[in-house]
Symmetry: C2
């Protein structure tokens, strides 16, 4: 099965959580809006198509055969078993998805740090609010999320170090991406916080040294972090 | 199966999306933190339990036999087929869940209108920011979400009027709850907006007149909207 991922071509954004899963699995996929002959128009055509059975609200969405699937965590729910990135039991699958939904909340909050008033306004038009929101995010919210994932990793049987036990799942890749993004956006805060979360940092290292992920990160397929993305670095927000 | 729902006892909040599904199905359930002999301590014991296999990040969570399931949309993903509130095919189930995740984003944004800086600060300490955020929410975000659901309802075969076709699903109940909450929080904005979304308003009416939902709404099990909840009414935010 060749998967077609549709996402904005210039950013990692929410699409990156899908890309990491596809890359880790060595899946056959196209990143449609980044193909020269397809581009953003191909994405917009799907968004505006009024005859689709399952019209997505926003990117990312995935075409898999006849299905069009939207919402990042939902796409991973679908892909997980197909890519071998989730255990087999219903309990474990719901649990992996539950963790991914918690990541989704965390990502949304990371975006709100620089856009606490409105996604359509410029950062400069909400900078004062962004400073207040970011201070709370790094002081309270990042620790709350990291506490939670650290606690789950703590139970992992010795030497495994993945969230669900001995094999990697898509939510491990997502924790890697969260830490990567937070390091880019809030380097000073992360230097201060990371020593309290050794297992989460070890998970980051473990994921980034997996052969396919390491190759992906070195490749041009991995877009650099940038200032149009979900994670943005503004020095004044990282105190 | 007797389900045990754990949620804060004084508010509808995110728990209400689960309550509506359980009520519509006539399911056997306990709203644990509202039972006099259990209360919030029973909820806190689960949250603090370090030996749980699947520890939740936050309420609501559901106990179903040996499973403990967190995240509102994930709970509905689990309950949907068991309560007969979702079609059978994988495509339709993913689609229903995708819509529910879009509702989840919408709920989070509704909460951000009165707490755009930090959940732990008082409203009064972020009132100026809340006014800016709310103005954007009612002018742009509510129309964007309602446009989307209206568009989906528009395709519904004549006379059915549910999002997935002829039978009710849990996401119909959630759209009902969104409109109910928005009417409470932003009555002036909703009076202005609703004429543009006749199918969504008709869905609200259709859900609220379903016998079990109607009985639930009249019962003391349905908590009133209030100012500690996700949906809050501040006149200055509803311009």
């Amino acid at each position: 099965m060749r998967y077609e991922l549709y996402y904005w071509p210039g950013i990692q954004g929410r699409g990156e959580f899908i890309r990491l899963a596809l890359e880790e699995a060595g899946a056959d996929y196209m990143d449609v809006a980044r193909l020269p002959k397809r581009g953003v128009p191909a994405l917009m055509r799907v968004l505006k198509n009024r005859s689709l059975r399952y019209p997505p609200f926003a990117p990312p969405f995935l075409k898999a055969g006849k299905l069009v699937i939207g919402q990042t965590a939902n796409i991973l729910l679908f892909l997980g078993p197909r890519l071998g990135l989730v255990p087999k039991s219903e309990g474990d699958r719901l649990w992996t998805h539950q963790l991914q939904l918690t990541i989704a909340d965390w990502v949304a909050e990371a975006h709100e740090t620089h856009h606490p008033i409105a996604g359509r306004l410029y950062y400069e038009d909400q900078k004062a609010e962004a400073m207040r929101r970011s201070a709370n995010f790094t002081a309270e919210r990042v620790p709350k999320y990291l506490d939670y994932f650290e606690r789950i990793l703590k139970r992992s049987p010795k030497g495994t170090g993945y969230l669900l036990g001995k094999t990697v799942s898509y939510v491990d890749l997502s924790v890697f991406q969260m830490i990567a993004g937070l390091r880019y956006a809030f380097p000073r805060a992360m230097v201060r916080l990371e020593p309290k979360y050794p297992r989460s940092v070890a998970l980051y290292d473990r994921v980034s040294s997996r052969p396919r992920i390491a190759a992906y990160i070195r490749s041009p397929r991995r877009l650099p972090f940038n200032q149009q993305d979900v994670f943005r670095h503004y020095s004044e927000l990282d105190s």
